[in-house]
Amino acid sequence: MKRLFQKVPRLLLVVLGLAVFGLVRAPVEDDLRERLVAANLLLPPPAQGAFDQMSQSALMGTLGGLRSLVATYLTLNAFEHFSTKSWDELRANYLIITNLEPRDESHWVSVIWHLGINATANMEIDTRLPAFERERRFKEYAFQAIDFAERGIAQLPESSAIRLQVAEVYREKLKDDCATARVYGEIVGLPGAPGYARRFYGYFMARCPGREQEAYDYLTALYREGEPQRLPTLIKEIKNLEGKLAIPSPRRIPDGDPDRRPQKASKKPANALPGGIVVP
């Protein structure tokens, strides 16, 4: 045996050892890989589109296992584009970032915020562009933000943060109360959803034409939950709806309009004496 061992070229034994080990570990590694990907601990390969858009160094970094670092570098690069208001370059960066780390919620939230809030705000005030072009780009950036939101929600269906950010775009920029209500409605019941989402759902439903009665029932149900929900905006919205829907007085909530300040007590005249006697 020892002689045979000495006769067989060592290189052959090494290659044979490597091959046997490789054949044994390959199915184990395939199984482990599947389970690590299913547990979201390992990221699936980025989409081919991401590779096409990457620079050579970013590609090497990604292939070399530095995916997180490449994504972080691109995030800082995107911030540079934000500083110079280069919105198209910023979008291109985030297309790669979200492909590299599709399960990082913060990337989706950031790109929606950048395009949906910052880029659109820039279009509102950038006087170097003609008005029609600013309006066109305003809509383009807002819809790009919504497109990112849809892709993000497809990746992270239970994300309330992405929905909160896109709700802000609908609410502040597109002034679309019905879409805002729809998004807040989707947030209600999601894990990690903020408590105020329930109230906001009602507030924007109240402003959506045709849904006033539904909003009134929803908001009064919230009101009946007790003191923590009876915030001034909730009371104000119910008061508005009571007026719009002509709710009879006995069915109205007892609170006063929070916007109406209590009337100040009339000042005593300077010539009043103690006991209410007025000296003419």
């Binding site: 060592r10 034994l13 090494v14 050892g17 490597l18 091959a19 080990f21 490789g22 054949l23 570990r25 390959a26 184990v28 590694e29 482990l32 890989r33 389970r35 690590l36 547990a39 979201n40 601990l41 390992l42 990221l43 390969p45 980025p46 081919q48 590779f51 090497m60 292939l63 070399g64 296992g65 530095l66 995916r67 997180s68 670092l69 994504a71 972080t72 995030t75 800082l76 911030f79 934000f82 780390e101 399960r103 990082d104 913060s106 939230v109 950031s110 943060a161 990690g192 903020p194 408590g195 105020y196 923590p228 915030l231």
Partner: protein, 316 residues
């Protein structure tokens, strides 16, 4: 001591050297530990730990980037950069240190002194590998401590600032404020981050085992370093690249064979990148971590045996 007196004319017996005549054990953990300890000293003298200073600077710099982002996003960035840097340090150090050790011992003639003593070659290889892994482990723990300190301090700062601003706005109930703070805490310092450090250690261990195997037959350290880095890149990329190759070649038989050969011969390093998911806040599945530990042990055993196969009767 013998009870019988010496016969006249006979010289007194010379005291036998301590331990002489005793059989040398086939394997001794003591000898492995001694070689590992001397390897640690050797690496520390190469000023390895100065890297920690650079690491601390990187973490502090990232922690102070003034970009308009949510507190959770900023914490996430600190973690990603810190753990990414830790990962790079671990595998790069594993390659360079392991590639340098055996040639340096030959150059300093320390290897001849060690192997002329009753030290098995497997003990020598194990000691060297153990020393490199100990330095990597110490460095990773130190880097984690620096990173944890930074994350904790930023997290505390963000939590108090967020609490104050939400309280001041008077729009949120106490429960809602706590919900918002828990979102920041999710990206803060968590016990699971320790497992991410362990993942980097697993990867570095496999890289070190492969490098020690290469260095047993390589003619120079430079060759070992270059080949190890190439293997690392291929081991990382081949899973991602193979689907594209197959796609582009229309599933040609030649490409299929090539992909299979690469898969069998080169370790799949990408599998060991599961720290990325943990750093992003995903829950740790302990069974998977144990299995990855088992796979790492498998790589260490097989590559050490292959190294021994080459090294066992190598003439110096």
């Amino acid at each position: 001591m013998s009870d019988t007196p010496n016969a006249p004319g006979e010289s007194a017996p010379r005291p036998t050297p301590r331990g002489a005549g005793k059989a040398v054990p086939i394997f001794s953990f003591g000898r492995v530990t001694t070689i590992a300890a001397s390897t640690v000293t050797q690496l520390v003298r190469m000023k390895t730990f100065y890297f920690l200073l650079a690491f601390a600077l990187v973490v502090v710099a990232v922690g102070n980037f003034n970009i308009p982002a949510t507190p959770a996003k900023e914490l996430s960035m600190i973690k990603k950069v810190a753990f990414g840097t830790m990962d790079i340090f671990a595998w790069l150090f594993a390659i360079v240190a392991t590639a340098l050790l055996i040639p340096k011992d030959v150059e300093d003639r320390t290897l001849y002194t060690i192997l002329s003593k009753p030290v098995r070659r497997i003990e020598y290889l194990l000691g060297k590998l153990g020393g490199v892994l100990s330095v990597i482990a110490i460095s990773l723990v130190a880097m984690y401590a620096i990173c944890a300190l930074m994350i904790f301090s930023r997290e505390s700062l963000y939590l108090s600032a967020e609490y104050d601003s939400m309280k001041a706005s008077a729009q949120y109930t106490e429960g809602e404020i706590q919900e918002q703070l828990s979102l920041i805490r999710q990206q803060g310092l968590r016990a699971e981050l320790g497992i991410a450090v362990l993942a980097s250690f697993f990867k570095a261990s496999v890289v070190a085992a492969v490098t020690i195997f290469l260095s047993t037959f390589a003619s120079s350290s430079l060759f070992t370093i270059i080949v190890s880095i190439l293997l690392f890149l291929i081991g990382h990329a081949h899973h991602m690249a193979s689907s594209f190759w197959l796609d582009e070649s229309g599933n040609s038989v030649f490409v299929q064979m090539l992909v299979k050969v690469i898969k069998i011969l080169i370790p799949n390093y990408q599998l060991f990148s599961f720290s990325e998911g943990i750093v992003q806040g995903e829950a740790v599945v302990s069974a998977l971590v144990w299995q990855m530990g088992g796979l790492t042990a498998g790589y260490l055993v097989v590559f050490l045996l292959l190294s021994l196969l080459v090294f066992v009767d190598k003439e110096f």
